[in-house]
Symmetry: C2
Subunit: 456 residues, 2 copies
């Protein structure tokens, strides 16, 4: 009899919610696919605004646009969080060529890496030494490197199924290449673009000089993979060939910018936060549609879906458009600092920053107990062909929010096409598929709903 009462009580309690998790997820996916807004938002952000490097006029316009759109959603709060960001400018288009011993020159496609110094105004001409890694560089030493251009040419590994693993295995060349080569007196650095495609596009991205004095900083640029292959082949035939490149990029003083934040205040736990976000800044060569316009509009869509479906969350749900992920992470740092100062408890922080491709699942940085609980939700996602739940790193913007007890998480879309576009001139709106983008937004909303309903 007691069991029966419990059973009836359970039935009644489930009637109070009146909808099962399955039903809510179905509504979320249906609404995102049939009357979603993420794609038209992305069209505006990508086409009307475009590439939005931190500190640029376009980044300012993106902030204004983001706030205006959030204002229109009827959220409980929308605000701008000020943050000082670096302002690096590319300047005039870079120019580079290979000069063979015969004197014949072949133009190649390069772009200055973000944060790099300019060459001198007339450009740098030097012979080239090709290396695959820092060990080879060290073995060459000052005798082999001084006065030369170091050409880092270790390709991304094509047999890794997750292309982010292939990226992770190569990006040290781009980020640390200049500081390592400068140790041996190199005149400059050329880095093979971080892509698996063999094409003509140089891929930008950040690099560092660490604490190198300004006088020791050497210019650093990415070269397209096709031209990297060409340079490597020509070097094998003629080690005395010369490489010329000119770039007039510049690091200016920091400028004021903003994170854009919107909130639906929780009905039961208003001071406990589940946040969804992406980064509003992008590189400047394309329009930043995949990196990370997609994450921005998907995060906005999560809150819009909650409003449209009249889901009243127990926790406060925030969308955070982080500023300056690409070359400083200042927005994320500032957001985490203020959250800590105010004692805001961030229970779950979910980022989308891996492109607007078909979602395959999520990665979670969390306790074993939380992960096991999350694994229990896998069947709810299977109708949407979401199968991939792993413990692993979340996005860079939510990492500063990690504590021992909370969860940071990342949407994991299909990664095959991501590095075809990453930081390059073809990261543009036409490379985003409407349904793939919408499925990602729906998957994020579904996960947020489950966290809000069932806790962590």
């Amino acid at each position: 009899m007691k069991k029966l009462i419990v059973l009836i009580a359970l039935c009644l309690s489930s009637q109070v919610f009146s909808q099962t998790d399955e039903d809510v997820l179905k509504q979320i996916y249906k609404t995102a696919l049939v009357e979603g807004k993420s794609y038209s938002w992305l069209e505006t952000l990508s086409i009307d605004i475009g590439g939005r490097l931190s500190g640029s006029l376009n980044a300012e316009r993106a902030v204004d646009w983001g706030k205006a759109e959030l204002d229109s959603l009827g959220l409980d709060k929308v605000w701008l969080q000020p943050v000082m960001v670096p302002k690096w400018v590319r300047g005039a288009k870079e120019f580079a060529y290979i000069k063979a011993g015969s004197g014949v020159t072949t133009n190649v496609n390069i772009c200055a890496l973000g944060g790099s110094v300019a060459t001198n105004p007339l450009g740098v001409t030097a012979s080239v030494v090709e290396v695959k890694n820092f060990e080879e560089l060290e073995a060459l030493g000052e005798a082999g490197v001084k006065g030369k251009i170091v050409f880092y040419n270790r390709p991304m590994q094509a047999d890794l199924i997750n292309t982010f693993s292939a990226y992770g295995g190569c990006v040290d060349q781009r980020y640390m290449g200049a500081v390592e080569a400068a140790k041996y007196g190199a005149a400059g650095v050329i880095v093979r673009s971080m892509t698996l495609n063999i094409d003509d596009l140089p891929h930008a991205g950040s690099m560092t000089y660490e604490d190198l004095p300004v006088s020791k900083r050497i210019p650093s640029a990415a070269i397209s993979t096709k031209d990297a292959n060409l340079l490597s082949t020509m070097l094998k035939l003629d080690t005395s060939l010369q490489f010329y490149f000119k770039q007039n990029c510049k690091q200016l003083a920091d400028v004021k910018s903003y994170n854009v934040i919107g909130e639906i205040t929780g009905s039961q736990f208003p001071n406990e936060y589940i946040i969804v976000g992406g980064h509003l800044d992008s590189w400047d060569l394309g329009d930043g549609s995949h990196d990370d316009g997609a994450g921005i509009v998907q995060s906005m869509e999560v809150l819009r879906l909650f409003k449209t479906l009249k889901i009243k969350p127990k926790h406060s749900i925030r969308v955070v458009m982080f500023m300056n992920e690409e070359n400083g992470l200042r927005g994320a740092t500032e957001y985490a600092k203020e959250a800590k100062a105010k004692g805001e408890k961030h229970v779950v922080s979910l980022e989308s920053d891996a492109g607007g491709f078909t979602p395959r699942g999520f990665s979670f940085d969390c306790t074993e107990a939380s992960f096991n609980k999350i694994l229990g939700w896998k069947p709810l996602f299977e109708p949407y062909l979401i199968h991939y739940f792993i413990q692993g790193g979340a996005g860079a913007d939510v990492r500063p929010l990690k504590t021992d007890s909370n969860i940071t998480a990342g949407l994991r879309p299909d990664s095959q096409r991501y590095f075809d576009h990453h930081h390059a001139a073809n990261d543009t709106f036409d490379a985003v598929n409407k349904r793939e983008l919408e499925l990602g937004a729906a998957s994020m909303a579904a996960l947020v709903y489950l966290f809000d309903t069932h806790g962590i």
Copy 2:
């Protein structure tokens, strides 16, 4: 002691094979991704040959190309299997406009459906009646339909996650629309294109007149989704508007064509066949890269991978390039007929005909016992992010080979982008991603390897 002997025997036996299934799959995926040939094959088939409608010169060229490429692989046998195929030709580009009551005309994008008759040489002008399905058509009856153009405008359902389900729910309009409308004396048929995109591209595809006498056959065309929306909106404002279209397509006499077949003869069961295939013909508007150039080159790659990795199969492994899937299925019918006549036992027939997108899994038409055995292989595929194993229909070309005891199967790639390109002018090489295509080929090779090694 007995247990120890068994254990040693097991170790020795596994050493005889010298490689575990995991190792072989790793080699298959690595070879496909690092030194695959499928993408460069597709480039030739798509760019150098192009769209290859059954009976066309391009289809002939594709047959010659396919045979030459198979000849170069060092297979045990390569041959052409003759088959008579229909030859339908589009003729001059179609032309259509909406004429408002005011007399103002608006051009719209249409294409004749495959198998349709021409309009009369001056075109058809008639008023339009819009229906969503055959029930609405029947309700209108002859009084509402006679002399008019029937406009089928039921859209694909966007909230279905698998876009093939959405296609399946609509394609009756295209295939049966003319024969149904002719019953009530319609002057012609315009069908909303089978795509979830709202764009300007009409999507071709086959239609039937069943046993309708030639004199009763009415012309049938697809209209782009954007123009379907326009026509529907204009009709709401002005039911008396006129629609004009002109097409001069034609059904000619059947011509001789071929299936292209290559074989690695099995070492233990030479008269038991595992086949992989796709269809060599395509529609004519694009170059047929996804439908089904991808399936062709992936199937070729399966046999090339076996040769490259020196895997000597126990069963005979065949690649079959089926002719005329799109508008007749003559190649598949002939292949199955001859296989039956010769008593060739087809244990597994695997088709790739759903585009060259990231593979998600396979569908199997097989016994429960076989399916359970296959499910046991799922962990082998997880490192390659293949999670989706279902019982369901295989491709059209392998269906005629189905028996009670054998297996037909289909590769299941991600379906989100497929109908953006399906049968339209943008089914072109640039819409195929190299790695996605290669992962599909590797997945097919892996499955074939497991069937060959472990049986069904």
